[in-house]
């Protein structure tokens, strides 16, 4: 991207009037090229993957996926201007992490200021701390009930009740659900922290299993066991993993 190139920009907001206002504010700006408009999080993830924009004007509250989930799934460094109406938690999160945001309703001048800051942040190479933002903006009241995975432009929603097994592989995790495998760019410990400890047990350095899927456990060698899931999958169980499992069962 050269400095003279226009910023390839997409607008993400589920309310049509809000999108039209952004369109109107951006019209006539030479340095901005509007390449897409999205009305929900799924569309936004797809658009970011396919259009590789430089700038995303992102509403925080949306159906299916909120703004933070969109960025988390996009796994892409992009300049972002967050937009929200009143969400106290989100605003506090932005303040804490010094991320620029717009409060609805906002003026054209305020939008331009926010775009300039987002560009500066992007060119300074300061990444947006998406996960910390998301955690601060959505104070978890309980364990996750779903896990989101992106596969190219498509987003899969995996209910944790249908999650059988999580395996650490290289710098990512492989999630197994209903016989299908999904890859997610997270560490096993991060996933473990989100799951319900009463239903998911880390049985091994590299494995978390859904206790409800467990068929049997057999001694394999001294201090090591093999767990067999209902679908026949075999999972190694370490000594401490076995202790954790015993505690739960």
């Amino acid at each position: 991207m050269r400095a003279s190139d226009p910023l390839r920009t997409i607008i993400v907001d589920d309310e049509a009037p809000a999108r039209s206002l952004l369109r109107e504010y951006l019209a006539g700006r030479e340095d901005i090229q509007l390449v897409g408009e999205c009305a929900n999080g799924f569309e936004a993830v797809k658009a970011i993957a396919e259009l590789a924009p430089d700038l995303v004007l992102l509403d925080v509250q949306m159906p299916k996926l909120d703004g933070f989930e969109v960025l988390e799934l996009a796994e892409r460094e992009v300049a972002v201007v967050f937009i929200t109406a009143h969400e106290e938690h989100a605003v506090r999160a932005f303040e804490v992490h010094a991320v620029d945001y717009l409060l609805k309703p906002f003026s054209q001048a305020r939008l331009e200021q926010a775009i300039a800051r987002a560009k500066a942040r992007r060119s300074a190479g300061t990444p947006i701390p998406v996960q910390q933002l998301a955690a601060a903006a959505r104070p978890r009241r309980g364990p996750a009930t779903r896990i989101l995975v992106r596969e190219g432009p498509a987003v899969h929603v995996i209910p944790t009740a249908e999650l059988d097994l999580v395996e650490a592989r290289d710098d990512a995790v492989i999630l197994r659900s209903r016989g299908k495998l999904y890859r997610k760019q997270r560490t096993l410990s991060e996933i473990e922290a989100e799951l319900d400890p009463a239903r998911f047990v880390r049985v091994h350095r590299s494995f978390i299993l859904n206790v409800a899927r467990l068929a049997r456990i057999e001694l394999y060698a001294k201090d090591s066991r093999i767990a067999t899931l209902q679908d026949g999958t075999k999972v190694p169980v370490s000594r401490t993993g076995y202790a954790r499992l015993r505690q739960l069962l």
Partner: protein, 360 residues
């Protein structure tokens, strides 16, 4: 305040009990000291009445030495001294009375006959004082408990009122900001629509303020407020927001607390429709069920979304207001299904009367 003197209805039984005691003393004087009946009665009944009032004074040592604050030895010493003093005073009066009677011919020898009873009377006086002190303690404790309860009730009432004041439904600022944003969006492209929305927003705010200040309103007015609210949200959500109404005419005149339905519809829009890509239908049903009215608001929900933890603020507010206003007469039923969220409010059907001080 003295627990016997200050309360009407207690002095009578108290004096009656002492008269009975006087009778017993007379029997004692007749049998043990050989007093003729007339002498025995004339001696004992006035003395019993006098002692009744002396014993009323045991209230003051009881007040001065509350059981909970004073050590047991001090309690014992205080009342022992008071008992001895009361008994001595009584015996002195008894002897004075006997000496006075002695001057009358029919009562010759009364002082001598009383002298035979002095020890028994002294012991009885101390015991009676002790009994009186115990009764005073019981009455004081009873009085304090009653006062505590009244204070507690008063505090509870005050808290309830404060809660009701605080709960008096407020417009969600989130809704206001979004509506203002929608107006800002419409100004250039659709100035007519922007003006229309300004007017609708003003209408809604005005009626919510006006209705919110009243204790009760007819259900029909609440429904009109809901319509104003929906008109504004319609601009934001467009085709995503659809509304179905099923209103029983027989229930529309029912008195309801203001803004009891609007927060439920607002919940249905912000937590239901706003979370669905394609939107959905909010259903508002008002039914008469015998002597009760059922108001149901339901909306589709995204089955894949993270369920909200616990009850939202709006719902909790409605619940507390119903509880404060109706107690167990009202019902709030929340059914968070996987595909549909449904809330039912059931109230007694009471026709709204506009003649009340807060009416119209």
């Amino acid at each position: 305040m003295h627990p016997i003197l200050a309360r009407g209805g207690r002095l009578g039984p108290y004096v009656a009990a002492w008269l009975a005691l006087g009778g017993l003393i007379a029997v004692l004087a007749h049998l043990a000291a050989g007093s003729p009946w007339l002498e025995a009665l004339l001696l004992s009944v006035p003395l019993a009445l006098v002692y009744a009032f002396i014993c009323l004074a045991s209230y003051y040592p009881c007040r001065a030495a509350p059981v909970s604050l004073v050590s047991f030895p001090r309690l014992l010493v205080t009342h022992f001294l008071a008992a001895v003093f009361s008994a001595a005073l009584w015996l002195f009066l008894a002897i004075t009375w006997a000496v006075t009677l002695e001057t009358l011919p029919p009562f010759a020898g009364v002082a001598e006959r009383l002298g035979r009873l002095v020890v028994v009377l002294a012991v009885t006086a101390v015991l009676l004082y002790t009994l009186a002190a115990a009764i005073h303690y019981v009455l004081i404790a009873f009085e304090e408990a009653r006062q505590r309860e009244r204070r507690h009730l008063e505090l509870e009432m005050a808290a309830r009122e404060a809660e009701l004041r605080a709960l008096r439904a407020q417009v969600d600022p989130h809704f206001l900001f979004n509506a203002l944003h929608a107006i800002a969006s419409l100004t250039t492209g659709q100035p007519q629509a922007a003006r229309q929305m300004c007017l609708e927003l003003a209408d809604f705010l005005r009626s919510s303020l006006r209705l919110g200040a009243r204790q009760q309103i007819p259900l029909a007015e609440e429904l009109a407020l809901v319509e104003r609210y929906l008109a504004i949200e319609q601009v934001r959500f467009g085709e995503r927001l659809r509304v179905a109404r099923e209103l029983d005419e027989a229930a529309l005149g029912c008195a309801v607390p203001p803004l009891i339905l609007q927060p439920l519809v607002e919940n249905a829009v912000t937590h239901g429709i706003a979370g669905l890509v394609e939107g959905g239908e909010v259903r508002i049903a008002v039914q008469r069920r015998g002597e009760r009215v059922a108001i149901t608001v339901s909306n589709p929900v995204d089955s894949q979304a993270e369920p909200p933890g616990g009850e939202g603020l709006g719902l909790a507010n409605v619940r507390s207001r119903l509880l404060a206003g109706y107690g167990s007469e009202a019902l709030l039923d929340v059914i968070p299904g996987p595909h549909e969220f449904r809330v039912t409010v059931e109230l007694p059907l009471v026709a709204f009367a506009a003649t009340g001080p807060e009416g119209a």
